[in-house]
């Protein structure tokens, strides 16, 4: 595959390429404003319109450096960034609290982040809570009817991808020719840690997408709904997915969306075939004993 222009480190450019021209207002979502430039500068949040619809945008700014938390730069999601992103979700929920489910604004997550803040202060105060808070907020908004689409444009690495991306209803990714990185660790590091030589792993990854790095492997596992091969394909793809998600929610098919939906997709694409078997067996085994655990009346 021919390498093309990369979008890595260009979260702000991606916003402009995706939303209606000139429509992005940073720092305002519904009645909430975020006007302290020093608060969570690595997180870019705001409101835009996409094909005329109001949407919340959440992205990372790879050029920002958080003066207060020096491990936060290059798009890393630190404590402030994680909570700021969570607040952006809660502000979206609040803004549409009185609207029926089918009118709740979509959230578009633009994903280019290498990690969560890996520092001592972060561990002392609990980085795990910040990333967890954002994920719970996203799951709440998704279940409340807000369509959520994640658009992977650069780095979607491990815990940071869990934090910012994997709670979406649908995930779209620029294809591998854009240098898009989706992984827990590069194969070279996996090879070192699990002590298997790189050639063996590379060979095995041709048949099994389960440990190799890259958007196509995630596609095969059902971890990404769609790969987009052109930059100007991002905008229409996101709009299309928002529509599909709205329709699925309106029809009550929430289980086709989000992490659970991607589990089913993983089976469909033959990437994760044991998962459904385990689930099926557990369901049968529990059904056989459930009566024992119900109250006796």
């Amino acid at each position: 595959m021919e390498a093309t222009e990369t979008m890595m480190g260009r979260g702000r450019d991606a916003i402009d390429m995706i939303v209606d021209a000139g429509s992005f207002t940073e720092g305002t979502i519904g009645a909430s404003t975020f006007d302290d430039p020093e608060f969570g500068p690595g997180a870019v949040i705001g409101t835009a319109s996409l094909e005329g619809d109001t949407v919340t945008i959440i992205a990372s700014d790879a050029n920002a450096f958080n003066e207060k938390f020096p491990v936060v730069y290059a798009g890393i999601i630190g404590m402030e960034e994680g909570y700021k992103m969570a607040q952006a979700v809660y502000a979206s929920l609040a803004a549409d609290a009185d609207k029926p489910a089918e009118e709740k604004r979509p959230l578009v997550l633009i994903v280019d982040t290498p990690g969560n803040g890996p520092g001592k202060v972060e561990e002392i105060f609990g980085m795990n809570k910040a990333t967890g808070a954002y994920q719970l907020a996203l799951a709440e908004a998704r279940l409340a009817g807000h369509p959520i689409v994640a658009m992977v444009i650069g780095r979607a690495i491990s815990g940071a991808f869990l934090c910012h991306g994997l709670q979406a209803d649908h995930i779209v990714s620029l294809d591998a020719n854009f240098g898009t990185m989706i992984h827990v660790m590069p194969l070279t590091s996996v090879s070192r840690i699990i002590r298997k030589d790189l050639e063996t792993l590379q060979e095995l990854s041709k048949a099994n997408p389960v440990f190799a790095a890259g958007p196509r492997f995630f596609y095969a596992l059902g971890g990404v709904e769609e790969l987009v091969g052109e930059l100007d394909g991002m905008r229409p793809a996101i709009a299309r997915h928002i529509k599909t998600i709205r329709d699925a929610k309106a029809a009550g098919h929430q289980d086709e969306l989000g992490p659970w939906g991607r589990g089913e997709l993983g089976a469909e694409r033959q990437g994760r075939t044991v998962r459904p078997e385990v689930i099926k067996l557990m369901n049968q085994e529990f059904a056989a004993v459930a009566e024992k655990y119900a109250p006796s009346r």
């Binding site: 972060e122 609990g126 699990i194 389960v210 440990f211």
Partner: protein, 318 residues
């Protein structure tokens, strides 16, 4: 497997996943789901020529404490560090899902269902997060667990227990943070980035991962208790954890919202006050924060007996 009675006073820290699962529940009530006799092991480890376990290092099942149906997930640190792959991940996700479905079924069937008759989920964590041998599947399973935790909200309380050797790190660090209530022993450790990784990123002078005391006061049970990152700190026996679970299981589900650290705009506001304090203090050591919380002799907090610690310690309030 030792007798149930003998498990009770056994060290929680030293207990394997199945002993914890069985010992936490009332005697004879545990039914394991997708257990070792079902032989669901990781096909991905097999392909790599690695040893497998027929439970994939994760015990899932259901039992009872008093009148409460308790769905249990118990992770085995002795098997590849308690790491989460496709099979173990699916077991964890589906245990929570089964609890939610059972809850919905029971409340429909029994309009007079009491709080203590409603199911709870207990997760005994011992894990570093994603299993690298099948990292992509492990990562995706984490997202599914977070989704189920949100789906369980206001229905099925999820209780985290952390007191096993490996601690609870990586992606499972935020899974634990996202539960309703966290019970730890002083030997439990909870965090996101493991000590070795911080050292690698920031240098040994900033964080020496071989300094056990430093590691414990950054991520250990006593620190987490001071920070409000766990709700209870208990003795290192299965019985002590069991008692804490039994107390929690009797609470109405609405009470759990007050025990949470995250999961609402208000909780996020509160956490942000802590972050502002972190920015202001720039602590070099967790002890700086203990002092800030109002403990005049933070050094002494590490080694004093647990009872004395619990009786006298000041917890951080922001």
């Amino acid at each position: 497997m030792p007798k149930w009675k003998d498990l009770q006073e056994q060290s929680f820290l030293e207990s394997d996943a199945r002993a914890r699962a069985i010992g936490l529940l009332d005697e004879g009530t545990f039914t394991e789901l997708a257990g070792p006799f079902d032989r669901f092991y990781s096909p991905h480890l097999e392909v790599l020529g690695e040893a497998v376990e027929f439970d994939d290092g994760l015990v899932a099942g259901v039992g009872k404490i008093g009148k409460t149906p308790v769905f249990v997930v118990s992770q085995e640190g002795r098997f590849i560090g308690g790491s989460i792959g496709e099979v173990g991940g699916a077991k964890m996700v589906n245990t929570i899902r089964l609890a939610i479905e059972f809850h919905d079924e029971l409340v429909t069937k029994y309009p007079d269902l009491s709080d203590e008759e409603k199911p709870v989920v207990v997760i005994s964590f011992e894990t570093g997060g994603v299993r690298l041998h099948e990292s992509n599947a492990g990562l995706l399973a984490h997202a599914e667990v977070m989704d189920q935790l949100q789906k369980a909200r206001h229905k099925v309380p999820v209780i985290a227990l952390i007191g096993s050797k490996v601690g609870c790190f990586g992606g499972m660090g935020f899974v634990a943070a996202a539960t309703d209530a966290i019970v730890m022993s002083e030997f439990g450790r909870l965090g996101l980035t493991g000590p070795e990784v911080i050292e690698q990123e920031m240098g040994k002078e900033e964080f020496d991962s071989s300094d056990r005391a430093l590691v414990f006061r950054t991520t250990g049970g006593r620190h987490k208790y001071i920070m409000g990152d766990c709700n209870a700190l208990v003795a290192n026996t299965i019985a002590a954890f069991r008692e804490a679970v039994a107390e929690l299981a009797a609470l109405p589900v609405a009470e759990f919202e007050k025990l949470r650290r995250i999961g609402s705009p208000e909780a996020v506001e509160r956490q942000l006050r802590g972050v502002a304090l972190a920015a202001e203090m720039q602590p070099k050591d967790a002890r700086d924060v203990w002092a800030k919380a109002g403990n005049p002799d933070p050094v002494a907090l590490t080694d004093m007996p647990l009872g004395e610690f619990l009786a006298g310690v000041k917890r951080l309030s922001v």
